[in-house]
């Protein structure tokens, strides 16, 4: 056997027996297993065919409302985030100051406060809104939710977009300029393809955060998934109303998370060595 072979660093052998970390680890896993079994056995024990028949369709409708709310506000937010990100990166003091204030306000205050501000707050200006003809829009809680969520996510998405574009090295802009491409062409053909790879994960996180945050609209009387659960709990005083909804949210978030990871693996395949 040569000398080098003995110098090769082997992974350390697995600890044998029962070191303290293993005891704690097994205890914790055991706790989770018991917890999971407890929930499952509770759901089986408390299985109520009437409850299911009565509320399952409502939950499905709620799920639709949640997804619709998230989709609309994500898309509107994405559209709105472009001018905000442009303002943040602009060298014009006024423009960048305005965009900074916008982003700071929406990231610095709770989404719940923003939602209240739109739903209850704009009610203070009812007569003014009626004269402009916007009252019919803001009368509906769902529209108010979409409005608040779109403004909120626009601030976050603007920061994601800005961060992604700024992560592309300056040399890429200069190279494109020396090839005679103008700014918009450079952005579309050279900067964005590189920036969006960086932005994918934050966008995915933002989507997940929006799905989770969308539960808030239940408080302003929108019957989304959470709203239906609140209604079911208020009618039946059965805690499984919330357990089912928690499971649905958990599954939804996990699907999204793994989906984003899968897409990221696919689109960064050319960067792997």
């Amino acid at each position: 056997m040569s000398v080098t072979a003995t110098l090769v660093e082997r992974p350390p052998p697995r600890a044998r027996g029962w070191p303290r970390s293993r005891v704690i680890g097994y205890a914790m896993v055991g706790f989770w297993i018991l917890f999971g079994l407890g929930i499952v056995s509770y759901l089986i024990f408390a299985w109520n065919a009437d409850f299911f028949a009565k509320y399952a369709p409502a939950y499905l409708k709620g799920l639709q409302t949640t997804l619709l709310l998230v989709c609309i506000s994500m898309v509107l937010g994405a559209i709105l985030s472009v001018p905000v990100a442009y303002g943040r990166m602009s060298s014009n003091r006024l423009l960048s100051g305005l965009a900074y204030c916008y982003v700071y306000f929406f990231r610095g205050t709770p989404l719940l406060v923003q939602t209240y501000l739109v739903y209850y707050g704009l009610g203070s200006f009812r007569t003014e809104l009626q004269t402009v003809g916007l009252w019919d829009f803001f009368k509906d809680a769902f529209n108010c939710g979409v409005f608040a969520f779109a403004l909120n996510t626009a601030a976050y998405q603007a920061e994601i977009l800005r961060g992604a574009i700024e992560s592309v090295p300056r040399g890429q802009w200069e190279g494109a300029a020396s090839l005679g491409l103008h700014k918009l062409q450079t952005l579309r053909k050279i900067i964005l393809p590189q920036a969006l790879i960086v932005a994918l994960r934050p966008y995915g996180n933002e989507l997940i955060l929006m799905v989770k945050a969308s539960a808030i609209v239940a408080i302003i009387t929108v019957y989304d998934l959470m709203g239906q659960a609140k209604l079911a709990f208020a009618n039946s005083f059965d805690i499984q109303a919330y357990i089912w909804v928690a499971l649905v949210y958990l599954v939804m978030v996990e699907i999204l998370r793994h989906g984003v990871e899968w897409i990221e693996r696919r689109i960064t395949i050319h960067l792997k060595r």
Binding site: S21, G25, V29, P110, I219, M226, I243
Partner: protein, 239 residues
């Protein structure tokens, strides 16, 4: 539309609402500050478990973060606020059949927020753990420190410094999440603004004030954290 003078509404005293909202802001700060140490401790231990060699510890810690990061904050809060009294009631009923149990909304909020905060903080701590080279542990063991002493005296000081910017973000989102506890009836900033808006019908005004309170807290904490970061940086330079 009621036509009271808004300056009277915004005054301090029996006619004004600013004192109520200021009191609510104190509750908000108290809730966030009470959550912080619990959340940081749990988050640290969860991150420690996540980077351990023992697969069962890693699994348990990963389940923890998956659950509490995957559930909407509001759902966790409602589950806890309504679920735990039912659970406790079933247990207590074996001993005293006529007992009723209520969960204090401050305590419920504190526990739920520390679960959520710790699962986010654990991710920050985990990436900080990965930034610390293995030689630091080996150095600690080489001079005869035990596992726990190495962690406390060698790793933790560096860990906190690396994790600080990430923890600042967690703190800011914790501050915002406290507003959710108003839904289960804790008289914090948003709840008091809600009451004021209900009574006076000046909804936009009072929710605007509540937003400004949260914005002010964010500004104050960003000043505080940049001061802490500066002092951390100074200490590092002195080494």
């Amino acid at each position: 539309m009621p036509s009271q003078n808004i300056w009277i509404l915004l005054s301090w005293g029996p006619d004004g609402w600013i004192d109520d909202i200021a009191y609510g802001a104190l509750v908000t700060i108290a809730l966030a500050l009470a959550t912080l140490p619990i959340g940081l401790t749990i988050g640290f231990f969860v991150a420690w478990a996540k980077q351990s060699d023992e697969p069962s510890l890693r699994l348990a810690a990963n389940i923890y973060t998956t659950v509490f990061r995957g559930l909407p904050e509001l759902v966790t809060l409602f589950l806890f606020f309504f679920g735990v009294p039912i659970l406790l009631q079933h247990l207590v009923r074996y001993f005293r059949p006529d007992a009723t149990i209520d969960v204090n909304s401050f305590v419920a909020g504190m526990i739920v927020l520390s679960l959520i905060f710790s699962s986010y903080a654990s991710e920050v701590f985990l990436s900080a753990f990965r930034a610390i080279p293995k030689g630091q542990y080996e150095g600690g063991y080489a001079i005869g420190l035990s596992n726990w002493l190495t962690m406390r005296k060698v790793i933790l000081p560096q860990l906190l410094r690396i994790a600080f910017p990430g923890l600042e973000n967690c703190w800011l989102s914790l501050l915002k999440d406290t507003s959710l506890v108003s839904v289960v009836g804790l008289a914090e900033t948003l709840r008091n603004a809600y009451t004021a808006a209900r009574v006076t019908k000046h909804a936009f005004l009072f929710y605007g004030v509540a937003a400004m309170v949260f914005l002010g807290l964010a500004v104050v904490s960003s000043f505080a954290t940049s001061a802490i970061l500066r002092s951390l940086g100074r200490r590092e330079a002195q080494r």
